[in-house]
Structures are given as structure tokens and as C-alpha cells.
């Protein structure tokens, strides 16, 4: 046995190895199949889907379904396409991610470097809020948004997503700053740095990875949210997921499958891009968000 072998000591024969590759490939096809179907069929004219084979490549390649999904498809009562809703989602995601991440970083800083009596209990209470089924807060949230004059607005959705994102962002930063050397913080304070100076100059510049993880986590969750979007938005402020669901499940007219598929890809594109560009951090966020504490 060679000594350079460090990762994996299990040995197997050639036939077994072939079998392993075979299984892994078949499973990979299973995972890729829906994406393949969405892409291929979004590039076909509708007749080809209705009469032809869903798994075959288009005979006649066309981007008509894409432009229809983007700018002319009927969503609800208006033939606006998904474009305005894509913008709604962007307007909702950017501030919600920014505010929740900033607050989470400050909370994590206080909870690790400025502990006080009861701070652990506060953290535990915030942590528990990550797990609640959101159905439990829908009715009071709707009521409060109504009282604040924010029902059916993007600002209302930003507020809701910020509030219910705080638990996770605080958790991420707390766990990260827990491992951050306290001596550095103390040294800065010796030199006269105050609370915010220490945060800006010492902690934040060293928080790159956790900021990326948190931003990706929040972005993915908020972009993909359906429940809050469906509950608190009106026709003008719907996010992308709600609009896509309306497009696909509207009962009127012919079902334009190719447009549905193009729309689904448009809704998936931002999070997919984030995943492709930063898969490593994406996985880390998932792990941190699941193996809590």
C-alpha cells in the first residue's frame, strides 16, 4: 500500500469500479433530466411539444417562447410577461439581503465579543425563530402590514424577509465570530478603538467568507420564496415565483408549455448563476444552515 494514499484506503476491482461509474452516471442523468427538458422544450414551437417527443431536440429552434415569457405572456390579467415581476424580485431581494446581513453581522459581533448576562438566552430565542413554520406568522404579519400601510407593497415584502432572515444571519455570524481571536479585539480596544471602530476595522475586513455565505443563503431563500410572496403581494408587487405559478396554473386558454418552461428557467436563472459562480460557498451555507449551532 503506497504511503501517499491519504484520502481513501478502500480498494476495489476493475469491474466494481465500472459498475460504480455506471451508477453515478445514471443518477447524474436523473438529476439533469428536468433541466434538459426545460431547456430543450423552451426552444421548440408549441406544436412540437404537443405532438412530438418531449425528450427530443427541437426540429425548429426558436426563442419565441423566451421572448413571450419575458415580455408578452399573460400573467393574471395583464399581458406583461415576467419582466416586471423579475424586477420586483430584484427590488425585494437586494435591500432585504443587505439589511439582514448587516444586522446579523452586528448581532454576531455583540453575541461573541460583548457577551452580557442573558445574551446566550437572546441568541437561543433568535435561533429558535429559524425553525418556525411560517404559516404561524402569516395572519398577524398580514394584519401588521395592513396597519403599517404596507400590504401589497414591495417595501412590506422587504420588511418581512428581513425580519425572518435575521435568525439565520445572526446564527451565521455568531458561529463565525466565535472562532475569531478575541485577543485581536482586545488589542484594538487597548489602542483606543471603540465599539464600532473595532467592528469596522478589525472584524468586518476579516469577514469575507461568512459575508459571501450569508448573502448567498439569504439571496437564494428570498428569491425562491413563494409563501410570503403569495400572501403579502398584490398584482403589481408579485415576486417572480408567484408570477411564474400564475403563468403556469392559469386555467384560461391553451397551455403554452414552451412559455412555461422558458419562464421557469428565467425564474431559476439568478439562483443557478449564484450556484455556478460560488458553489463552494453555497454548500457551506446549506451546511451551516442545517447543522445549526
Amino acid at each position: 500500500m503506497s504511503s501517499s494514499q491519504s484520502q481513501q484506503a478502500v480498494k476495489m476491482g476493475f469491474a466494481t469500479r465500472l459498475l460504480v461509474y455506471g451508477i453515478l452516471l445514471i443518477v447524474a442523468i436523473f438529476y439533469l433530466l428536468p433541466l434538459y427538458i426545460m431547456i430543450v422544450n423552451s426552444l421548440k414551437p408549441l406544436v412540437e411539444i404537443q405532438q412530438g417527443n418531449m425528450l427530443s431536440l427541437p426540429h425548429e429552434w426558436t426563442v419565441a417562447a423566451w421572448s413571450s415569457a419575458w415580455s408578452t405572456a399573460q400573467i393574471g390579467v395583464e399581458p406583461t410577461g415576467l419582466k416586471p415581476y423579475f424586477l420586483n424580485s430584484l427590488l425585494m431581494v437586494v435591500p432585504a439581503v443587505f439589511i439582514a446581513t448587516m444586522l446579523g453581522a452586528l448581532n454576531g459581533y455583540v453575541l461573541t465579543k460583548w457577551r452580557f448576562r442573558g445574551s446566550e438566552i437572546i441568541f437561543a430565542m433568535m435561533l429558535l425563530s429559524c425553525f418556525i413554520p411560517f404559516q404561524i406568522v402569516i395572519i398577524p404579519s398580514a394584519r401588521l402590514l395592513g396597519l403599517a400601510g404596507l400590504s401589497g407593497t414591495i417595501a412590506g415584502l422587504v420588511a418581512i424577509h428581513t425580519v425572518y432572515g435575521l435568525g439565520f444571519t445572526t446564527l451565521f455570524f455568531r458561529n463565525f465570530y466565535e472562532a475569531f481571536p478575541t485577543e485581536l479585539v482586545r488589542a484594538a480596544q487597548m489602542d483606543g478603538a471603540r465599539f464600532f471602530q473595532t467592528f469596522w476595522r478589525i472584524l468586518l475586513p476579516n469577514s469575507g467568507p461568512i459575508i459571501v455565505v450569508t448573502v448567498i443563503w439569504q439571496f437564494t431563500n428570498i428569491w425562491n420564496d413563494f409563501l410570503f410572496g403569495a400572501s403579502f403581494s398584490d398584482a403589481d408587487s408579485q415576486p417572480m415565483t408567484v408570477a411564474l405559478n400564475n403563468l403556469v396554473n392559469s386555467s384560461t386558454g391553451v397551455k403554452e408549455y414552451n412559455v412555461h418552461f422558458a419562464g421557469a428557467i428565467l425564474a431559476a436563472l439568478p439562483t443557478l448563476l449564484v450556484y455556478i459562480l460560488s458553489g463552494r460557498y453555497f454548500v457551506r451555507g446549506l451546511m451551516a444552515g442545517s447543522v445549526k449551532g
Partner: protein, 307 residues
Amino acid sequence: MLDDQTSKQTFTRVLARRRFADILPKLVLAPSFAITLVFVYGFILFTGALSLTGSKLLPDLTKWVGLTNYERLFDHPNWWISLGNLAIFTCLYITICSVLGLALAILLDQKIRGEGVLRPIYLYPMALSFIVTGVAWKWFLDPGIGLEHVMKLWGFESFSFRWIKDSQFAIYTIVIAAIWQSSGFVMAMFLAGLRGVDNEIIKAAQIDGASNWTLYRRIIIPMMTPVFLSAFVVLAHLAIKSYDLVVAMTDGGPGTATWTPALFMQKFTFGRNEMGMGSASAIIMLMMVAAVIVPYLYSELAKKKSS
């Protein structure tokens, strides 16, 4: 003296500043804590209170009806359908995701060429919205254009797969889509666990003449117990909250065949103006999540304290 006066002033100023510095961290944390208190704990109490009232279209905290809503809930056939579906969904979803996830992780851990390509392929569904997943699977499983149609075109005339239109089997199509979405993530959790196994243990077992099969069955898989536990908690939690995927694929249909508790809550509260019952169902959902999460968090914290 004047000098004494100024030094006294400086002293009080320093003291005030220090006191401010003492409370500053608390001031920074306060808004988030207040928000959590109101929006999480306050709202849970509010929904709990609503579940004891006869609220219909709007919240009405003057008509107290005791536990009537809970009695009506557990007398309602749709609630039992929802619970039944949740049981089927949760069991299959957790079992298959765990088995598939573990199997894939073990296979991927055999020094596979191209692991860097395969792993992201298994994992990318997790980045998608359940609505997108729902659209893809809804049309792929649709008998008119999807799988059944394709098989017929390929010459399998008698092939039939119309689960999504069949009230007895529709829930299983949702299970398939959910497994497709989440199993890669479970794989990633197990892979991280496997990579953490000490190589010396593996070598020692091999010197003792253990076959690969025995090695995994007797030594490595039992070491994955904590990962199983984490996966169980994450998946159970996702299952109880499952709403988007059902809405996108079947919207509860055919009929009420694929209702889940989350769908029940939404339909009763906003569709049928039964806010009292809707709140009661939300409280039951919270209890189910708590039954899974609280013991887990408790044991995790206890473990941390002891180590």
C-alpha cells in the same frame, strides 16, 4: 479652584461615555431582539389566541370559543387527508433521501474521476425554487405530453403512468419531485461526514481482513449516525413546511388528494375564511416542528457543553 472644576467635569464626561459604551452593545442588539420578540413570539401567541376564537374573515379577539376550532379541525376529513399525506410524504421523503444520499456519497468517495463534475450535478436542484421544480415535474409527469406520451412514441403502446392525475397516487409524484430536489444535499452532508472518517480506522479494519462490505456495514455507516440525525431533522422540518411544491404541482388536487397541513392552513384561512380553524392548524404544525427540533437542539447544546 477652576482647575479642579474642569477635571471634575472631564471625569463625569468620561464616566458617562463609559456607561454609554457599556450599554452600546445592548443597544445594537436590542432592535433585532425586539423584532424577534414581536414577530416570532408575539405572533405565535397571537395566532394561538386566534385559534381559540371564532374568527372568520378577519381576526376577532372578542368571540372566544375555547377549543372548538381544534375539535372541528380533528373532525374534518380534509385535515385527516392532510395528515395522512404528510405521513406518507415524510416517511418516503426522509427514507429515500437518506438512503440515496448515503449511497451516492459512498460511491463518490471512491476516488472517482470527475467528482468535481458529478457533485454539482447532484446538488444544483437545491438552488432552484420549489415552484420551478414543480413546473418541470408537473409537465414531465403529465400523461398528455410527458413520460407516458414519450414512451408511447417509442413504441410502448400500453405504457401508462398517470399518477399525477390519480387521487390515490398523486402524492407520490410530489415525493419524487421533492426527492429530486433534496437528495443531493443529503449526499453532500454524508460526503462531508465520510471525509471526516479517520483513515487509520479503515486501514486497521483492512489489515484485520474486513471486506469492503463489512467495513462499511459494521464500521463506517454506524459512524454516520450524527449525519443521519441532522439529515432527519432538516428533512422532517422541510416536509412539515411543504407548501410551494404542492401548489406548483397539483395545488392540492385532484380534488383534495394532495392536501398537506400547510396547504390546509392556507386554504382554510384565506380560501374559506375560517381563520380560527386555520390558526388551529398552524399551531398543530408548530407543535410538530417543535417535537422534532427542540429535542435535537437540546441534545446538540448539551453535547457542546460536555465537550
